[in-house]
Structure formats: C-alpha cells, structure tokens
Subunit: 215 residues, 2 copies
C-alpha cells in the first residue's frame, strides 16, 4: 500500500478494523470459524481449500470460501468444483482484500450451511497484513519454489500470522531451497509460530495442518 499521509492512513485502518470486528461478530453469531489464507502468488492457497473441503467433510464440518483475486474467477471456479459454497471477490486494482469487500462477500454466502470459512486473499506478501478481515487465525502459505529467502524478506507476514505452511516440499530440490533456513527465518520473526511442511499434490502434511487450524 502506498503510504500517503499518516493521518489518512490511520483513518483507513481504523475504519477497516471496525468493519473487521463486525464481520467477526456476524460470523461468530452464525457459528462459523473463519481463517485468512495469505501468501505469494501460486503458493498453494486455493489448493489448500481444495484439499481441506473433503477432509473437513470427514470430520462432519462444511466449508465455505471467499476467493479474493484482482481479476477473473479462476480460483472461484476451482472452489465451486469442490461442492463448497463460495463467493468471488475481485479487488479491481487493489493488491489486497479489505473488510468491506469481505462484508459484501459474507452477505452472499449461505451462512447456515457453513461451519468453516476460508478467506483467500490476493497473492501478495505485503499489504494484506495491514487489513484485518474478521478471521480468527491467519494462515500464511509460502512455497519452496519462491526461494528460501522468502521468509527473511517478509517479516511482517510472519509476525502477524498465526500458522505457517511451507508448501511444494516436493520441488525444494529443483530450486535449491533450504527448507531449514526458511523455518529458521520464520521462527526468528515469530518464535511460537507452528510451521507445517506440505505437498499439496499428494496431500502430505494436510491432516496435521488441519488439526492445528481447528485447535
């Protein structure tokens, strides 16, 4: 986000936080637990939803999703194909969702049919951290193909996140990604952060990740 003027910015963040609290209250009232999905482009956010819909179903829980993208409905269509109710939230030119966009999306979801809501943000490791949406946890998904310096370059993502996922562990060797370095960097910025290593092609690591999400 472009920092124009500190007082204007503070107003924007305050207004956003108030709306985020409203979203949170509305979801809580409907008995829904909501989780943000943050991370770089292509890190595996939509794949995570695709994999967790059936795993949640096995646990007797119904998933819903908000698919946040600048443009298009690629992610929305993939989520709809899982059978989960979803809303497409296009930001137009913005590089992140905000609580207002999410408020509108919530209005279009069948809240009675949802237990767990995933809010997939635009692929971006910077601005989404500044905008609370109303979720109870923030899941940060990075992939080994982004390089093992990706955590070091984005301290705020991890300071403000709740759970970290290092995805595409199957491709680490092809990009010379040192997964230990990635995990060390994450813990330098957020010592308590649980970190999961996943391969979303095979589903490896998804059950333990889900345990932590629902904890």
């Amino acid at each position: 986000m472009h920092h124009i003027d500190v007082s204007i910015e503070k107003d924007i963040f305050d207004a956003n936080n108030r709306l985020a609290e409203k979203n949170h209250a509305k979801l809580a009232e409907a008995g829904i637990r909501a989780f943000d999905l943050l991370g770089a482009i292509g890190s595996g956010k939509t794949s995570l939803v695709e994999l967790l819909v059936p795993l949640l179903k096995e646990r007797g829980l119904n998933t819903g999703a908000i698919a946040g993208d600048v443009y298009g409905d690629d992610d929305f269509q993939r989520i709809v194909a899982t059978g989960a109710p979803a809303v497409n939230a296009n930001t137009g030119k913005e590089c992140h969702l905000d609580a207002h966009l999410v408020q509108h999306a919530i209005d279009h979801l069948p809240l009675d049919e949802i237990d767990i809501l995933f809010i997939e943000n635009v692929g971006n490791m910077v601005c989404p951290t500044d905008f609370a949406l109303g979720a109870e946890k923030r899941i940060v998904v990075v992939s080994t193909t982004e390089g093992d310096d990706v955590a070091n370059k984005h301290p705020m993502m991890f300071r403000e996140g709740t759970i970290a996922v290092i995805n595409k562990v199957d491709l680490a060797e092809y990009v010379d990604c040192d997964v230990e370095r990635l995990e060390t960097d994450i813990h330098r910025y957020n010592p308590e952060m649980p970190v999961f290593r996943t391969n979303m092609k095979t589903g490896e690591g998804m059950e333990s990740l889900l345990d932590e999400i629902l904890r």
Copy 2:
C-alpha cells in the same frame, strides 16, 4: 495500492511520473539503458540479473542493478557477488518501488561504469505497474510454478509490460502448468508482446531474451 481518494491518487501518480522522467533523463545523459524487472515473488528476477551480467560482459557491456525489496539485502548480496555495482533499495512497508526511491538509488551508483541498468522491483503483480521508474522497457517475469492462471489474473501487468518471460519451464510438468495457456492469456491482454520461455537453472533461452532486451 489502496485507492483512497481519486484526486490524491492523481497527485501521487503525477509527481511520480515527473520524477521518473527526471530519472530517465539522467540515465540517458550518462549513456545508460535501464530496464524494469517485474513479477511475482520468486519468479526469477534476481536470477535473470545473475545470468545476464556475464552475457552482457561478453557483448562488451557493463551491468548495474538496483535491488528492490521490502526488507533485507538477500538480492543485493547476490548481485554484488556477480561483480556488478548495485544499490539495495528497501521499501520498508511499501509493496513497490517508486521513482523517488530509484532517484536516490541512482545517486549511489557509479554511473560511468554502467551501460545497462536493471531495476528489480518488489515481488508483486499489482502495484508496481502504477509507478513508472524511468526505465525504457518493462520485463515481466512469471514462473510456471505460480500456476497457468497467473497471466489471466493480472491483465495490467501484461498490458503495461514490454517483454514477457515464462521462467522455470523445467518445473512446468510438476505443477501441471500449461505453458501454452499462459502464453495465450498474455497475448489476449497484449497481442504484440514478445514472450520468452526460460530455464534459469541452465541458462536456456537467455541469449534470445537478451537480444530482445537490447533491441
């Protein structure tokens, strides 16, 4: 970038454009051709610089670089290791470089020793398009590991870009990336855009890309 108010925004863009023109004039006066490197996190922007420094040297041209990142000096250190003069430009909280940051970076470069300047932006497919920096061409680097929907989701990147690079072609098969679809999407948004397929682990495709950059 968060769109706060259309008139404030217009002022910011106008001020940025004026500075970008100054940067361009200063570089031209020093006989330097400058190129923006844009793309998602980990798409291969720094790898491109690492590979082109020696190829440019073979053609009798000296490279310089500005390494733009939110935080840290990972890219800066990699570029310095190639022997090319470089400046580290940290944005702090911004998700993109602007002409003002680049102006300061230019002041710290040994302009006499540079023929070709690469300006590596923050990994982001949205906001960098709005901020001209003073370069003559914009090279947009995506990688197959981001998924074959990445071009469709980011029309402006390709409308405003000059040359497209589809990198990590060696990994396309592992992420089920349809490179043809990617190229079709790019040409839907920008029919004239030259598209190069590269493997920056082996250097495949880099000589023809360099021909196009210098054209």
